[in-house]
Symmetry: D2
Subunit: 377 residues, 4 copies
């Protein structure tokens, strides 16, 4: 299907266009009795919102309404549909340039696939805006993962030649780092790197240009035994969801492409007993062996390309006349989206890992069921 | 599911263990009337077979039997099941070390997931051997793609610091390169690089060690308009299948992680008319915009980690006693699998692109249907 | 999943509760370029609305809003989400009797499944009201089937001992009958039977009771070759969808249970050439052999049980106290829903047959694509 | 897909043709550690075998081989593939009549769907023979249901005007009845009815004719709370699987079509507390309210049409010449298959209910896991 994610236990149906009346998501498969943290959802949506000079000037309230599957503060167990009304469309920006294919956008491919029937305004269904409901769904998944102590955090590891400091190997420091990132709008560990990256982005903005970067994500406390061989490996499911984020062009786990530089004797992660617990002395494989978690942190990196919307004049074609043309994009755009993409990456990870961990975590048999059962007694 | 790939149009059910009686695959969804090229399947399986000093000494005939869905030389349209009997198992090699978890293998995670019931001999269902039926299925898909002129080829782009020459931008040279690769057992374009990589692998073998590398794959002649926004983007489906190959730890499309170094003005691919055809003057996005093909070649790179089976002594744990232990792996293993993984990557790409391109290519309405229909008249 | 129908080509995600803010459906997989007939959707929704003494007094406008996937009068090819706001809830009717399990309703089973978290007001997600979005989705499917001349019509074949006249075997008369039914609110062919059934229903209403009946549906002009052996037979897919309608407890095709009375020599449908066309001289198998259409009309009957909401005092239990209790249902209810269920049955049939016939009908390659393509030129 | 059943938790891929080398099934999703009762599987397969004058003379050993997913007596948790070799094909019987469409068989529809590429010998993939692997898969599911006390049994309730006695309402007698049926090859409760039905079948055989009938199935001890509203209701999933059995043309639950005769006040099943347990004083709804089990027995009836293979001369067409023709079927055929269909119905029910009950029954967390886990310690 176009925009339906069918997990093993949950299914998500994403809908909406950038300039249509509403965007939203239908979330089927949630167990009954989850006391949804609506403020938690709002907090996550805040991280996706454009802010400051490094983001588009389009301001959307992103207020959501849950129209089903939620009753008296708890999920009902039937499909939850969450809507976000669009309020700040400037659709006229797009009418004039309807046939001018914005380079590296989906304008041309959408024309080829949908034969001119697509909603071309603001990228339509291809807009990054449509990731907002994904963030809401991810926030719900994250809440369930938190019940099991599982934590997810991402930072901008690199933006051109500016690199952030790495995640710490010391659990306490790592936890502080993760908390810091999850409370930050601009997710960078080193203050200096954050300052330099922001300057780079503002500078790009001033030049009518844009930048990309690399996000690095860590997942801690995922129990061993989650995942599958072959088609439903952790890597398969995670990458499937990560590559469904517009602008993502690369995903690597652990050493990733760095594995090409090493011998097996260097790359292998020796198992060790530590305090009665199975661990590995290195974690080059990102906590995943044979598609299944081994109890070590899951670590992956996601390549985010520069926003294709830039203000400089670009060469392109006119789809209608099939002639070469030039285009200067109008409208409101982001000189960088990597900081906003962060929470989308975290959300996709939460969705993937909740679905993969469902049985091991006992999601269908949550503790709260029992207490809730007594509500009826 | 563990090992079922459910595409939009085809479904694959992979089964078997390294030391069980048979491995195989059930392929549902194929249209009737495909004149299967059994020699073509054998040719592809040959590329996956271990050969020479750079591969394991386990020699399997890999003779396949199609037990259903194939009649009088054509597919019937009902599920095709293909079996490969295992014949060269040395299962005793594994009995002694059953509880010694081979580092970076799936031994430990399989124990955690399957509670000791997994077939641990030779990696069981996690064995690279189980990719042989995938190659057979991929060969069938490739045959259908070839009917539309779509071609796939991969080379070892890098192995440690030895790099192959890149794919050419000149279509004629590129085609020659691709033919060369598809006729080679060791898929490298530069003879010198091939020699150096082979030497590196033989040297690793001599030291009881192993190496990995990066495969680069190109797909040509894929029409524009194939793929989907979000969850079923070309990148999502391709990466899902690529990451289901044991040993793959990274996937990037076009510039991939290199996008982090560029400005949008450098990264965007301007559209141009060329000989009445829409093209882009660069192809940093690997022929994919918004998850959908734009008619340019699809290019991706796959990181393959070094074979975890090495002959050097390694630190590990004993799963039964939950004690630290050391392990020297016996048995027959590959100092490198990247050259053998090549055809698995090509096969996964063929599976993914056939399923994605189904409607645009008109797979359900193949020309041969018409002629075949006349068979009944 | 609870409420997601995943067809081979389309997926439907149904959501909403009887007394929640909205009910709706997400429809993924529709091709681009369908000029939606909104009035046609309204006409179908009208048939589901309660009217007169034979229906509940709850009056819902059932005005729908399409919030995505629809642009400038055509489908975009991306997911279409259709919402219907609830406006006439009398939720207080349900508070007092929350723990009194209405016999043959889903109150008790919902408590067991959802542990008290379900929205119990008006049956919540189990309400027949949630079929309204199904009717809207079915109307869209029916529009596509109509493009191919395929027609669907149903009548109340029986209500207690009152039987309608059968569908005619003469094509012209049959077509008139089908048109008549599709223009009628109360779908019965014989005026006398219609009058008697209405009287029976009004009488039941007067006594605070309810009645059920048998719907008979005919589908004409479905080409041969649609359907599949085994799990995706026409009968499997149709019955799957028909039994998802609340109150349906039986489905039979052609002679159905009557096959038990006959010998094979009586039951078999001989093939005959008629005017150069393959036909069968009888149609006991309802146009389906081996799960696949043979070109004859598809005929099936659906058993609809009496509405469980009756006004007479009933024995039941109190879920909270786990004691026997008695219950007199308040609120607004239908003495019969079979006439309203008719359009839901037709809609489910349209959904099933569109998905099954997708490839044969060439839905992904509709004629309008070509003309539409020129819009962009 | 043609022949893949994708449940929520298990997936089955059925393959094979009547006269091909093998038939079989791939069963994905089984948990690890099930000690498979191979004799139990054989016992179930025996019930499907033709025996005596009331069945075809084709004798197949139906010896199965499990080629994957089974190790040291337990399931491994990875896909289980089970093969049954065909050994008694008389393929020449079919060559001469290849183009003569057997009435009410799938010959014609297969030609239309597969354009002449289908394996037409003995019905190919449409053959009832392909249900043998379903019985094997069902036997595995039944073993898991038995662990929870859930029992399934069916009898031939009616064959023309000969009716069996009904299931008893007294639990002890019912249990005896069910045991009796599950130990009988000819599943009828009344000895007299069994004798009369056998005589009817033998008589039909003597006349070269065939008979059908109605199977009635009961499922006891299914806990309350299993199933779903709408698309995955118990009725939807059960009927989907039941109608995938060749020859099934009707399915009804509880009163089924009999609901049309009653008022709601008669049809409703009042809830009652009995011995501290929730029960209903009648069970017209077959233990299902709103698609979800209420703890009462599930009861359904399945209409089985007479075997279409009869020895009398029949009218038909020649597909090649498109002329009317007459046909006298040769080969070995069943005058009745309802007694052999019984175990297929039971198997489909077991598959459906295992998948539906997965979470409530805790299938993914079976007790044996824990003990097994200790095997590794």
């Amino acid at each position: 299907m176009n925009s339906t994610f069918l997990g093993q236990h949950i299914s998500l149906s994403l809908f909406g266009e950038s300039h249509g009346p509403s965007i939203g998501i239908t979330f089927d498969g949630l167990p009954a009795g989850i006391p949804l943290d609506l403020d938690g959802i709002r907090t996550q949506l805040e991280k996706r919102k454009p802010k400051g000079k490094i983001s588009t000037a389009r301001q959307e309230a992103d207020e959501f309404e849950i129209v089903s599957g939620f009753f008296n503060g708890f999920t009902t167990g039937t499909p939850l549909c969450l809507l976000i009304r669009n309020t700040s469309q400037h659709s006229r920006d797009y009418e004039k340039t309807k046939f001018l294919m914005r380079p590296s956008h989906a304008d041309y491919t959408a024309f080829e696939k949908y034969h001119g029937f697509q909603d071309y305004r603001g990228g339509g269904h291809f807009s990054g805006r449509v990731t907002a409901p994904v963030v809401a769904a991810g926030a719900i998944c994250m809440q369930l993962l938190h019940e099991h102590g599982i934590r997810i955090a991402s930072h901008i590891a690199r933006c051109q030649d500016i690199c952030d400091i790495p995640f710490s190997n010391t659990p306490d420091i790592l936890e502080t780092q993760m908390q810091h990132l999850n409370q930050s709008y601009f997710p960078v560990l080193s203050e200096e790197a954050a300052r330099d990256m922001t300057a780079l982005m503002e500078n790009a903005h001033a030049k009518g240009d844009s930048v990309g970067g690399v996000l690095e994500t860590i997942v801690t406390n995922l129990p061993a035994g989650i995942g599958n061989p072959f088609f439903d490996s952790i890597e398969s499911i995670l990458s499937h969801l990560l590559f469904s984020i517009p602008a993502v062009k690369g995903v690597e786990f652990g050493l990733g492409f760095g594995f090409a530089d090493l011998y097996g004797s260097e790359a292998n992660d020796p198992f060790r007993m530590e305090g009665g617990k199975v661990t590995t002395s290195t974690n080059h494989n990102a906590g995943i062996n044979g598609g299944i978690s081994n109890g070590m942190p899951i670590i992956f990196r996601t390549a985010v390309k520069p926003t294709p919307s830039i203000y400089q004049q670009q060469e392109t074609i006119d789809y209608q006349s099939k002639q070469n043309a030039s285009l200067t994009i109008q409208g409101r755009h982001d000189p960088a989206i990597i900081h906003r993409a962060r929470v989308v990456v975290d959300s996709m990870a939460a969705i993937a890992l909740l679905d993969l961990g469902w049985d091991v975590l006992g999601i269908a048999h949550r503790q709260s069921f029992r207490s809730s059962h007594e509500r009826g007694r």
